[in-house]
Amino acid sequence: MLKEYEAALVEKKLLGIGNVLLTFACEDIAKMAEPGQFVNVSCSLFLKRPFGICTVDPIGNTFSIGVKEVGAGTKDILTASVGDVFSILGPLGHGFSFDGVKKIIAVGGGTGIYPLYFALDKAKRKGIPAICVNGFRSWQDAFFLSECEELSEKTIFASDAGDLGVKGTVMDALKLLQPEDLTDATVFVVGPEIMMKKVSAWAHVHQLSCQVSLEKRMACGFGICLVCVCKIKSDADNMPFHHVRCCKEGPVFQASEVIW
């Protein structure tokens, strides 16, 4: 049987402006989670809030999420102290597929870097080479730089301000990849929707398989309410699309299936 966990916050680490890494004690989630899966975390508001799983420590029985403050729920979660107990559901959803993956180009923007970090970590353990491309607003906003460098063969950063890596977006950073970087690569993208759409189109042009992690407003997070649906291409004759649950069939989808 699956369970709703009462998990204590065991560590809180400030990463960058408004971004905090929260570590929770929960043996089951630490042992079961796969990259791209998420947890639904209680806060003082009515609904839980979904966050991609960022790291797991199956020996120490902890896992972490990276949280960026954007509204009342994330603000409340970030005011918690070590020792506070949260009600957490997870690991939820379908994460990245590593089937047949020979090389990864991980493209992240904003909080997308959190689930990608977990994917890079798994890739490293499986001996799959990875290239990491990350976009930030500015140097001040950036975090996980050395961590990503450590897990990747090649790392390219981009910043809107131009004070870190390439000036511009991840699209500008992708232009710096060499033809051999693209050979046999699978693209994993997590970030703002507009960025994922552009990167998917880029991957399509270069004939690379691409997986995207979609973000929808959720309630239950485990598939019973149907509020979180994404538009996915349908092969039925009379139907151009299907509404598919982001929390259950996703959040990671093949980019080629997504209707943006």
Partner: protein, 305 residues
Amino acid sequence: MVDLSVRVGSVDFANPVILASGACGFGRELSEYVDMSTIGGICSKGLTLLPREGNPGCRVAETASGMLNSVGLQNPGLEAFLQNELPFMTGLGTRIIVNVAGHSTNDYQKMVERLGAPGTPVDVLELNLSCPNVTEGCMTIGATADGVYNLVNAVRSLTDKPLWVKLTPNVTSISETAHAAQDAGGDAVVLINTLLGLAIDVKTRRPVLQNNTGGLSGPAIKPVALRMVQECYRLISIPIIGVGGIMNAADVIEFMLAGASAVEIGTASLLHPAACAKIIKDLTAYAEDNCLEALSSLTGELKLW
């Protein structure tokens, strides 16, 4: 051992806790968290004759002690339900209620004929005359006493199975629509579906929901639901199933005192998948602590001032 069982018309339930339509799918996901054979019953997602993809865009808005949804009856349609979902539900070992929705009287008739045929493994048909998120059928039918009467009357003779009529609170007089359900041969009324509401994003100055409006559920609506159950209990004679904002065993007791024979749990399962199991456990404890022989003896015991 306390007797938690309840009877709603001709159907008995192991306990009064039923999973509400639209907040439990077809039981697959919750069965991973809860032993479903311990629940009183499960009510399917609202079904239509043909598959529906539901409404586009953002379908949920959080509110104070509740939420708005505008799912818009996304469902696989009758045939796929019979083929893929009903066999699964039958295996859960609990009472099966099917929530029937439609665009027209004709739709409801076809659905009731099929689902209500003698051999179908369905215990109860729940007529959804109350979904606020579609432009035809449902709430537009359930908005008036005449609409309710005519619809229930049009399907009554098509099945021998119990027909529960799920009513909308978005009316001037709930007892009038409840009466209409009773007069047309409904076996019970289910009170209430969601209240029509609106949430606004002040940054974009647009409704949060792309459907503009949605149905309000959760503890925010419990007082409204309780009042409606109590009002109808005094004025009609068929059983009432209470729904709206039930989060714990005390809420169930309140609904039973107000006149409910059984209850349905919706939004609580979204927040806590095992909410129903906890509620049943706590109901047992309540009954023991209060030396109740049968929980069902609470129904309608409220003494008004």
